[in-house]
């Protein structure tokens, strides 16, 4: 009997999804409850090592000054962290003056600290005095190559149009990145590829690219023996690191702010570069590196780092649970919305075209862009990730429901109408069961895509298999990448297989 099987399956999905939903909601409730009683200061970092170390410094200092503090690590980029800050999801993070000036305030020319502070105050955001080091953008290439080409300054690139360039994706798009450099220096290079910053060093080493953007405190500059080209026309603005925090931190955590003041002017470029190297090259944990720094420089013995690292197995189990939760909850919501939408689209041809077009458009929105839009509405964590996955799941299910219903052979449609059955009865007893295999195939597509896309959820702090992948890429740790990538692939295969089995059961006797 087929219908009961489909119903059983739907029921299982329902129960699982609702358990997860209520779990998530409960968890959120208790979190908020906590916030009311004993406030927790939330710091965040972007997905590069320096940012993670700096946020770890902030967290440990906060804990040391007597406040509960958590660190949401490696969020997807400036916009995501900034939106989370404005939404009150996080309280503080470390950013750079140049980034704040160009990307957030969109001011051009050189801007003083006061101008920056004034501009940010309009958003209810404060900044600390600079921490000390200037992590500006720079362009670098292997020393040997630079020597053989006689390259020392950026302006000299004009005479070398064939240099193969590969820039981090952020640098490619930012006005203070490649577009600005190119205009300012009148550079002729046309073919430029975008790639992840951490992969760029490998690409330099293997010769796939010859020049990339660097941060001047990158641990790799020395390690890979890179020549930093002189910014002889002073294009790059200063990138002074400073603490960016919500204005209400002053009232909520005054003692934390006092503790953080000890950092200002106390981290120079060499120290930062060394801390980066400790993590990236010597494989130490960010928390440990941060606490070592605090002890050596400020004489603070932090008690905040003493969390034992859980075993890899329990880590994978936690990632799996997070990942499953993201996939199943979003899939369940998509099924609930998309099937009625698909039915509606099949029954109303003109509106149906609109629905299909709209869900196709949703599919084309890049996930990072979607996250940026969703964070002001939903904050960070599982909610925006589930919302994005939900939106991406709509198209395959709507489309397959629509085509499953509209492709029912004419003679079957005629016979069911000729039996004098009402539209609702026809839909329930004949059309939906006939379209079910196609609909299941749509759900399968959505589920498999979801398992893959959910790895990006780590960019908004939702955890899942993306977490070890992100960290692995950042630290160039292939084992860590595998910890996320392998189970994600297995889950995709299992989902695919499960749905195929179900589809097969449903059509066995047709």
């Amino acid at each position: 009997m087929k219908t009961p099987l489909a119903i059983k399956f739907a029921l299982c999905l329902c129960i699982l999804a609702s358990v997860m939903l209520s779990n998530g909601l409960l968890a959120q409730d208790t979190q908020q409850g906590h916030k009311a009683e004993s406030p927790t200061l939330t710091v965040a970092s972007k997905s590069f090592t320096e940012s993670v170390i700096l946020a770890e410094l902030l967290r440990q200092l906060a804990v040391d000054s007597g406040s509960a503090s958590e660190h949401i690590s490696q969020l997807g980029g400036t916009r995501i962290v900034w939106n989370a800050l404005l939404a009150g999801e996080i309280d503080a993070y470390v950013d750079y003056s140049g980034t704040l000036q160009q990307e957030i305030l969109q001011l051009s020319g050189s801007t003083s600290w006061d101008a920056l502070a004034e501009g940010l105050a309009e958003y209810g955001v404060r900044i600390s005095r600079p921490l000390g080091f200037n992590n500006t953008y720079a362009l670098g290439m292997p020393q040997e190559l630079a020597k053989s080409l006689g390259l020392e300054r950026i302006s000299q690139l004009r005479e070398h149009p064939d240099v193969v360039m590969g820039f981090s994706n952020e640098f490619m798009d930012r006005p203070d990145g490649w577009p600005g450099v190119r205009m300012n220096y009148q550079l002729p290079q046309q073919s430029v590829t975008g790639l992840d910053h951490d992969l760029a060093y490998r690409a330099l080493q293997s010769g796939d690219i010859q020049l990339t953007d660097l941060y001047s405190t990158d641990a790799e500059v020395d390690y890979y023996q890179l020549q930093v080209l002189d910014d002889d026309e002073h294009f790059f603005p200063p990138y002074q690191a400073l603490i960016v925090y919500r204005a209400d931190v002053e009232n909520r955590f005054p003692e934390v702010l006092t503790a953080w003041k000890q950092l200002t002017g106390h981290i120079d470029a060499t120290q930062m570069s060394q801390m980066n190297a400790q993590v990236k090259i010597h494989g130490k944990g960010e928390a440990q590196v941060a606490s070592t720094f605090l002890q050596a420089q400020l004489g603070i013995t932090s008690m905040a780092q003493g969390i034992a690292k859980p075993s890899a197995l329990s880590e994978v189990a936690r990632y799996t649970w997070d990942h499953l939760q993201l996939v199943l909850v979003s899939l369940f919501m998509a099924i609930v919305v998309a099937i009625p939408l698909g039915i509606f689209a099949a029954k109303n041809a003109s509106i149906g075209r609109g629905i299909l077009a709209l869900s196709s458009v949703l599919q084309t929105i890049p996930s990072l862009a979607l996250f940026v839009v969703l964070i002001p509405l939903l904050g960070i964590g599982a909610a925006p990730a589930i919302a994005a996955l939900f939106l991406y799941s709509l198209l395959p299910i709507v489309r397959n429901t629509h085509s499953g219903l509209t492709q029912i052979p004419q003679h079957l449609q005629d016979s069911s109408r000729a039996l004098g059955l009402s539209p609702g009865y026809r839909l329930r007893r004949i059309e939906l069961p006939l379209a079910l295999p196609t609909i299941i195939a749509g759900i399968q597509t959505a589920a498999v895509i979801n398992v893959g896309t959910a790895t990006l959820a780590a960019l908004v702090g939702a955890g899942g298999y993306g977490q070890p992948i992100l960290t692995g890429i950042r630290l160039d740790d292939f084992g860590l990448i595998l910890q996320g990538a392998a189970p994600a692939a297995l889950m995709a295969v299992a989902v695919q297989g499960g749905f195929q089995w179900l589809g097969g059961r449903l059509t066995a006797k047709h």
Binding site: R417, L419, P433
Partner: protein, 260 residues
């Protein structure tokens, strides 16, 4: 038998100047036709002549773009609710059978009864009765349409059409997909059945011998209009035009043997 009903000839369907066009294409034109209660009317003609469209109009699956179709002296309804009620007094059988592949035989048969709100006992009794009438082995009802032969499928389709004991059977090439032996067998059975149950039947075919076997009244269509209608002997003795003559000749030559 049934003399009380067949002695009084009443018109069940009356078509007045019925036409149907799809966009630029005039599929049917000026159709004037009467189908008598209890009679078998056969719509005959080459493929593309409009006979299937005419049957779909009678089933209320499409509304004519011009003219009027009366069923028991009343114009066919246009509202969905009234149309559904009307369709429940029809049995509709098509070449492909129109059985639902996701339901087994029994479920296919029970569907219209369940929708009509019959009790389970009533449904069981009716299916058993039809099973004996159509001589279909009981075990077959547990199988899905894809698992039984073409002839069995058409028996099942006819059983479903008869389920609510409709007044009219509308059949579109019901035997068209069957091999000759099964087809012959079913032709014999169906004709007996139509008489026994005193059903009004409108049957579409392109096969003259089949038309001749079933029909009280033959309607020959060509390019969307009626070329000639009446008894078979009228077609033979007084063909309306050269096309009728050719159509009769062609099929007599093959199927009936040359009578000359």
């Amino acid at each position: 038998m049934n003399s009380s009903r067949s002695s009084v000839t009443t018109a069940l369907y009356q078509l007045h100047e019925v036409g149907q066009r799809f966009g630029q294409h005039q599929v049917l034109q000026s159709i004037n036709l009467t189908v008598n209660s209890g009679a078998t009317c056969v719509l005959l003609g080459p493929s593309g002549c409009g006979k299937t469209t005419l049957l779909r109009l009678l089933a209320g699956l499409e509304a004519p773009t011009s003219g009027r179709i009366d069923f028991r002296q009343q114009t066919l309804p246009t509202s969905n609710e009234a149309l559904r009620q009307y369709r429940q007094s029809l049995g509709y059988v098509i070449q492909e059978g129109g059985l639902f592949p996701h339901l087994n035989g029994w479920q296919n048969l029970a569907l219209p009864a369940q929708y009509a709100g019959w009790s389970e006992d009533q449904t069981h009794a009716r299916i058993e009765h039809l099973q004996q009438l159509m001589q279909l082995p009981a075990g077959l009802l547990q199988r899905h349409p894809g698992q039984i032969s073409g002839g069995q499928r058409q028996r099942l389709a006819l059983m479903r059409a008869l389920m609510l004991d409709p007044e009219v059977l509308l059949m579109d090439e019901p035997l068209g997909a069957l091999d000759p032996m099964i087809r012959y067998e079913l032709q014999q059975e169906l004709k007996a059945l139509f008489q026994q149950l005193n059903k009004t039947v409108v049957l579409v075919t392109h096969d003259l011998p089949e038309a001749a076997w079933f029909a009280h009244h033959i309607v020959l269509l060509r390019d969307g209009h009626i070329t000639q209608q009446g008894q078979l002997n009228e077609f033979v003795e007084q063909p309306a035009d050269a096309f009728v003559e050719q159509f009769i000749q062609a099929q007599r030559g093959i199927a009936l043997g040359d009578s000359a």
